[in-house]
Structures are given as structure tokens and as C-alpha cells.
């Protein structure tokens, strides 16, 4: 113990070795295997994986229209979900942090947090019941039925708390005196919001959007539950691992969301969004 005490570098190595072994070897290693296998192929007759370098998988993805459509549809869903979540989360978080009384604030935080713990699957299932033809929603205002619209609604529902919480945390750190200063300088509420609140919230919004974006991009369960015949990237990957038993091709498709997320993470990283997670 005292030997370690005198050698901080050794202590650091001892602290980091096990976690790094896990994250680098197990996790990054697995991702590397996945990436490599995207360049393999499957023998059409035996179904065995052929471990020879080929670009065929990527060629198929780029040239065949269906993959471009699915990618664009998935991106569209992710963007729509993120925008809906931001639009709902901003006023809600603002009310919680700056308008509600401190007592009510505590309860509101709990009210937002609790459904986060309720099972993902249960919530998607609840919407399946809600959106069903002849279901509760149908008898009141009508239902869009199972399909793309339902997927966007349910995904927004599922990820909304992930957006509210970072924005709320960002607003809590924003001192009231800044809002008062802005008002004293003659800015009306709308101007203060655009000029003071929104710029400060940018990292929080990006932090929330990492979740809404990434979670929407990889989802295939909700799509199966309320999506009807809709297909997103996740469904293609799932179908190729399972029914088609073509892991190399699934790996190649899976590179699409990874690429999108890496681009997205690098883009928002500079705003300090990662510290807000």
C-alpha cells in the first residue's frame, strides 16, 4: 500500500487497467470485429461467413435505392423526434426552473423522473393500446393508426424526459439576476429568451439531442410495436442478423448509424455538450 502511495503513476495504472481492459478490449474490440466483418461476405449456398475482404456489402448499400430511402427515413424520424422533444421540453423545463415555486419544482422533477424508470417496452405497449383502431384515442379524436406518424409520436414520448432533464439542469444554473438584468436593459420576455436563455442552453439542448438522436436512430422495437410496415435502419440490421442470417451485411448497415453518430458527436462536442450528459 505504501509502495503504491509513493508512486502515483503506478496507482493510476492500477486504477485504469481493469476498466480500460473492459472498455478497450471488450467493447472497442467488439466494435472493431464488427467493422471488420462488414467487409466479409456470406456464402449464398452454405450460409457460412467467408472471411475475405470485399466491398460488396457497402456497394449494395450505396447503390440500392431501398437502403438510401431507409437511411433518409431514419434520419428524418430522428430529426423530427429531436425537434418535437426540444419544442416540448423548453417551455416545460422553463416552467419548472423559473416559474414554479420551489416546492412545486421538487414535485415536478419527480413527476418527470418517475416515468423514465417505467419500462421502455411498457410505454411503447401503452401507446400500442392507445393508438389501436377502436382504441381509446380513436373514439375521442381519431388515431393515425400504426405507421410512421405513430413511430414519431411514441419515440418523442419515450425520449422527452431525456431532453427535459439536461435543459432543466442548464436553466437551474442560469442565475435569475441575468434575466432581471436583461429586463432592466429593456428587453421583453421574448427578446430575453432569444438573446440570453437560448444561447446558454445550447450545450444542454445538444446533450439532450444526443439521446433523442441516437436512441431514435437505433430503435427497432418501437417500430415493430407501433410502426406497422415501417422500416428503419434498426429493423434492417435486425432482419439481417436474424432471419437473413447475414451478419456481415448487418454489420455494414450498422455502420450507417455509427457514422451519423460519430459525425454528430464531433459536431456538438465543441459546444461542451458532452459535459452536460
Amino acid at each position: 500500500m505504501s509502495f503504491l502511495h509513493r508512486h502515483p503513476r503506478l496507482r493510476l495504472a492500477a486504477l485504469l487497467s481493469a476498466p480500460m481492459l473492459w472498455l478497450v478490449v471488450a467493447y472497442l474490440g467488439a466494435l472493431a470485429v464488427l467493422l471488420v466483418s462488414a467487409f466479409w461476405a456470406v456464402n449464398g449456398f452454405t450460409g457460412e461467413v467467408v472471411r475475405e475482404f470485399t466491398l460488396q456489402n457497402f456497394r449494395t448499400i450505396v447503390t440500392e435505392e431501398v437502403y438510401r430511402n431507409v437511411t433518409l427515413r431514419s434520419l428524418g424520424v430522428a430529426v423530427a423526434v429531436t425537434v418535437i422533444c426540444v419544442l416540448l421540453a423548453l417551455p416545460m423545463a422553463f416552467y419548472m426552473a423559473k416559474v414554479a415555486s420551489p416546492r412545486a419544482r421538487g414535485w415536478l422533477v419527480i413527476a418527470i423522473l418517475t416515468p423514465l424508470w417505467a419500462s421502455y417496452l411498457v410505454k411503447a405497449y401503452a401507446w400500442r393500446v392507445l393508438l389501436a383502431n377502436d382504441g381509446p384515442l380513436d373514439s375521442l379524436i381519431g388515431t393515425p393508426g400504426y405507421g410512421l406518424v405513430a413511430v414519431v409520436i411514441v419515440l418523442s414520448y419515450l425520449w422527452l424526459p431525456y431532453m427535459i432533464l439536461p435543459i432543466y439542469a442548464g436553466l437551474e444554473r442560469l442565475p435569475d439576476s441575468m434575466l432581471e438584468a436583461s429586463a432592466d436593459l429593456g428587453a421583453r420576455a421574448g427578446r430575453t429568451f432569444r438573446g440570453v436563455v437560448l444561447p446558454i442552453l445550447v450545450p444542454s439542448i445538444f446533450a439532450g439531442s444526443i439521446f433523442t438522436f441516437s436512441l431514435s436512430l437505433g430503435d427497432y422495437i418501437t417500430v415493430q410495436i407501433v410502426g406497422g410496415k415501417t422500416q428503419l435502419i434498426g429493423n434492417l440490421v435486425y432482419a439481417n442478423v436474424g432471419a437473413a442470417n447475414n451478419l456481415p451485411f448487418a454489420a455494414a448497415i450498422a455502420c450507417i448509424p455509427v457514422l451519423i453518430m460519430v459525425i454528430y458527436l464531433t459536431a456538438v462536442r465543441r459546444s461542451g455538450a458532452l459535459e452536460e450528459l
Binding site: 500500500m1 485504469l16 467493447y27 474490440g29 416552467y95 413527476a111 416515468p115 393500446v129 442478423v241
Partner: protein, 271 residues
């Protein structure tokens, strides 16, 4: 910011609508678990508790629950150890690649679950399975631990940032051995952060379905997998409804616990 009364009312209305949007589907599941009609005609005509009895006696659901608990406990234990170690390394030392380490911890939840899932699946098939260790409950634990590390890491890191090192230095100055300092100073200091992080890790694992789908060995069924497998079977719908209702009721528990343990801000981040 001075808000006009109408702006206040507008905000209040959005808040109320938002909460309505969040809670109505959950309430619907609760009500439906008592719906006497097998096909869940709406509005319900009569109420019954017989689905609750049926669910209680459903062996598949019970086994799945038990599997989920085991997987959650295993993943949480690993996440507690690894997450704490990384948090200490990142907070207490300066070293090359520190930012990369913290990015690496976030990566498993920043990347879509299906990517983590098939990556672990293909790595297991091509590297570990040939060694004679097939997929089973253990591979589920490995998969879950990978993305649970971040919850413990974030909680412990935040605690270490706030508490500083002066107490530990004082303890060392007063002649305590490093072991004693850890036992009497450091550990009590981070205990509630560990609890909050561990709770989050368990909940994350308990709820996970995508990574589980790809890492579970044959015959291993966690509760989410069981629900999903039975979701499209009309026969099972009443029991699925009850299990869903139970999970909704249970979700109050961790929030309540986290609030008790670590104050009102605990559990404010699920990451």
C-alpha cells in the same frame, strides 16, 4: 425574467399538457390491467382482478423476472467497481488521453443499442465461443455492464469534484494509512453517489431489451424479452397488461429511494 400573466398561464398550460401527455398512456395500462374484457374494448365495461391472479401464477413471467434481477445485480456490481475506478482516475490524476477515457465511457450509450448488441454478439461468436464459453446469462451481464459503467462513473465523478481532497489529506496528515483513509473518509464520502449510480445502473439493465436480444444465450429470457415475446399473442395480452402495470407501479420505487439516499438532485440524470 418578468413574464406577463398571460405568458405565465401559457407556460403553465404547456406544463400541464406535457404531464398529461406523459401520464395518460401509463394510466391506461393500469386501468386496462383490471379490464374485464379479454380484447380490451374501450371504455371498459366491467372490472376484474383475475388477470392479476393469472399473472402471479404465470411461471414464464416469474422466471423472466428472476433472470432480470440476476442480470441486473451482476451488471450493477461490475459497473460499480469499474465506474468508481475510472472516476477516481479521471478526477484525481492528470494524464494523456483523459478526455478520450471519458468519451469512451459515454460511447456505449451514445451509440445505438443495436450496434453495441451486434458488436458484442459477433465478437462473442468469433472470439469467445471458440474457447468453449457459449452465450448465456453471463454474456448478458457483460453486455449490460458495458453501458451501465457510465451511470456510476458520472455519479461518483460529480461527488469527487464537489468534495475535493482536503479531508483525505487531513486524514493522511493525522497518520491514517491509505487503507484507513479509504475506509473512514473516502468511502463514506462517495457512498450515496455509489447508491444512486448503482440504482440507475440496475434500472438501466432491468429495462434493457436490444443489447439483451443479441447477447442472451438460448433459453435466457429477461423480463423485457418475455414481454416482447408475448406482446403479439392475443392469449397472453391480459397477463402482459398486468406485468406492465406492475412495472409502472414499481418505477416509483427507485426514484423514491434515490431521493431518500442522495437528496433531491439524485437520479436527475439517467446517464
Amino acid at each position: 425574467m418578468t413574464l406577463s400573466p398571460s405568458a405565465r398561464w401559457a407556460l403553465r398550460a404547456v406544463m400541464a399538457l406535457g404531464l398529461f401527455f406523459i401520464y395518460v398512456p401509463l394510466l391506461l395500462v393500469l386501468v386496462n390491467s383490471f379490464n374485464g374484457d379479454r380484447t380490451f374494448g374501450w371504455p371498459p365495461h366491467d372490472f376484474t382482478t383475475r388477470w392479476w391472479t393469472a399473472a402471479w401464477n404465470n411461471g414464464g413471467a416469474r422466471d423472466a423476472l428472476w433472470t432480470s434481477v440476476k442480470a441486473g445485480l451482476g451488471a450493477t456490481a461490475i459497473a460499480l467497481v469499474l465506474g468508481t475506478m475510472i472516476a477516481f482516475a479521471v478526477q484525481r490524476y492528470k494524464f494523456f488521453g483523459r478526455d478520450t477515457v471519458s468519451l469512451l465511457v459515454v460511447l456505449p450509450i451514445a451509440l445505438p443499442g443495436i450496434v453495441t448488441g451486434i458488436a458484442l454478439d459477433s465478437a462473442w461468436r468469433s472470439v469467445i465461443a471458440p474457447l468453449g464459453l457459449g452465450k448465456g446469462l453471463f454474456s448478458v451481464v457483460v453486455g449490460h455492464a458495458t453501458f451501465c459503467v457510465v451511470t456510476v462513473y458520472n455519479n461518483v465523478l460529480a461527488r469527487l469534484r464537489r468534495s475535493g481532497v482536503s479531508f483525505e489529506e487531513a486524514s493522511a496528515d493525522l497518520g491514517a494509512s491509505p487503507g484507513q483513509t479509504f475506509r473512514y473518509i473516502t468511502f463514506p464520502m462517495i457512498r450515496s453517489a455509489l447508491l444512486a449510480g448503482g440504482l440507475l445502473a440496475f434500472a438501466l439493465s432491468f429495462d434493457e431489451i436490444i443489447v439483451t436480444t443479441f447477447t442472451a444465450g438460448p433459453g435466457i429470457q429477461t423480463l423485457p424479452i418475455w414481454i416482447f415475446n408475448n406482446l403479439f399473442r392475443p392469449n397472453q395480452a391480459p397477463v402482459v397488461n398486468v406485468v406492465a402495470a406492475v412495472l409502472i407501479v414499481l418505477s416509483v420505487l427507485p426514484v423514491w429511494l434515490a431521493q431518500r439516499v442522495a437528496g433531491p438532485e439524485a437520479g436527475a440524470s439517467r446517464t
